[in-house]
């Protein structure tokens, strides 16, 4: 049995999540199918980014028949509770995304699995935040669009047998909502390779984020989804990170879009975004090209 040791805190930032994904990828790359233990014993923080990644990887591996065992963290208590209320414990123990009761002490949205896109996909995220703070109609709509753009992309392009996974958490102290949506589908590059020749990973990511190209593989594509997401997140002073195969992109306030090459290949696409819930007025966001 291989052991995938996560002996660090998986914070909701790209470097942490990148290291986490690298360990997961390494553990599951071996054939033939074998048993893997995910050892979280020394980890003291997991956030929605880690939960969504873990859920997508576990669902995919269980789908191909791999057995996974988990060594749960020793503590702190808050993390143990988070593992329960985020739906992670259920997923690892039963192999399914099951309904988890909401706990008022944890502003956590239990794991959601998407196999089809719907207008209502973002409703649980909004309900999560509305429990804590009121959101303007505009911000609700921006949040809905951010979630729906990513989920629709998964449905249209990813061809993931297990669909996509969403995890979200409202951070009351920072007054922000963190959302992670991850799939283990074919990835942006293979989607675009049927149409464009210059398809290295970072080029693909650059172009979809900058609205320069489109898969146009089905009628509903115009290549706007991720560039709309980027426009909304950056204009609301939020943060966005995307990992797509060997490359990643990051949007942080008041800085240009940054691209990096990852030291491993992540099969699928992971989108993480954080939006501040404290600000927003009419007409803040502009979508579309000048």
């Amino acid at each position: 049995m291989d052991v995938c040791k996560i002996d660090f805190n998986v914070n909701d930032d790209l470097s942490s999540v990148g290291a986490f994904l690298e360990r997961l990828q390494h553990a599951f790359r071996r054939e033939p199918i074998h048993q893997v233990q995910i050892d979280l014993e020394r980890c003291q923080y997991l956030g929605p980014d880690a939960v969504a990644c873990l859920a997508a990887v576990i669902a995919e591996q269980k789908h191909v028949g791999r057995r996974i065992r988990v060594q749960w963290p020793r503590g702190p208590r808050r993390l143990l509770e988070y593992c329960t209320y985020s739906g992670l414990r259920n997923l690892l123990e039963s192999g399914e995304v099951l309904a988890v009761p909401w706990n008022p002490a944890h502003n956590v949205l239990p794991l959601q699995q998407f196999k089809k896109a719907s207008f209502r996909d973002a409703d649980p995220v909004i309900a999560l935040i509305q429990r804590e703070t009121s959101l303007s109609d505009d911000l609700q709509e921006y949040l809905r669009i951010c979630v729906n753009e990513v989920v629709q992309n998964i449905q249209d392009h990813a061809a993931s047998v297990v669909g996509g996974f969403l995890s979200a958490r409202y951070m009351a102290g920072a007054q922000e909502v963190r959302v992670a949506i991850v799939d283990r589908g074919k990835g942006i590059r293979s989607t675009l390779s049927t149409r464009y020749a210059d398809t290295d990973d970072s080029n693909c990511l650059r172009r979809v984020l900058e609205g320069q190209y489109t898969a146009q593989s089905r009628i509903n594509n115009a290549g706007l989804g991720l560039s709309n997401l980027r426009a909304i997140v950056s204009q609301l002073n939020g943060r966005l990170a995307i990992v797509a195969e060997r490359s990643s992109a990051q949007v942080v306030p008041r800085q240009p879009l940054r691209y990096n090459t990852m030291p491993f290949r992540f099969g699928g696409t992971a989108v993480f975004f954080t939006l501040p819930t404290s600000q927003l007025g009419q007409g803040v966001v502009t979508i579309g090209r000048d």
Partner: protein, 134 residues
């Protein structure tokens, strides 16, 4: 359009798919618009008020269907959109721009890619300076 124009109003919320699929909802609304355009009304008003979370796919599908059935420019002379929010209007306009670009590319052939910026060649003096510094 003047006050005597015959007008039909369609509510986007009446065409929502029962499972919440944005694509199916947009197709249903577009088909209703096309049907209305084929009657003797002068103006079809499409109200998006109350429609929540319509991402780009919704507008892409809607506009493409209308384009396929009647040609976008001709159809839009008789279609008036009523938006529920500013963000909805922006999403609609972005989809419209993308579709028009697509139509232009289809008619004129693909636009050539912008050339990559080529860094200027360093002069022999700069190269010498850098080598000496190293």
């Amino acid at each position: 359009m003047d006050a005597t124009d015959r007008k039909q109003t369609l509510l986007a919320t009446d065409y929502l798919d029962s499972e919440g699929s944005a694509v199916n909802s947009a197709i249903a609304l577009a088909n209703a618009v096309v049907d209305a355009l084929n009657t003797d009304v002068d103006v079809v008003e499409v109200s998006l008020v109350g429609l929540k979370g319509a991402a780009s796919s919704y507008f892409n599908v809607f506009l493409r269907r209308v384009d396929e059935a009647c040609g976008l420019d001709g159809a839009l002379e008789h279609v008036r959109m009523r938006f529920g929010s500013r963000v909805q209007e922006m999403m609609y306009r972005a989809s419209m721009d993308a579709l028009k670009r697509g139509i232009r590319q289809r008619d004129d052939g693909p636009t050539p890619e912008p050339a990559e910026a080529v860094p200027p060649k360093r002069s022999w003096l700069v190269r010498l300076f850098r080598r000496n510094r190293a």
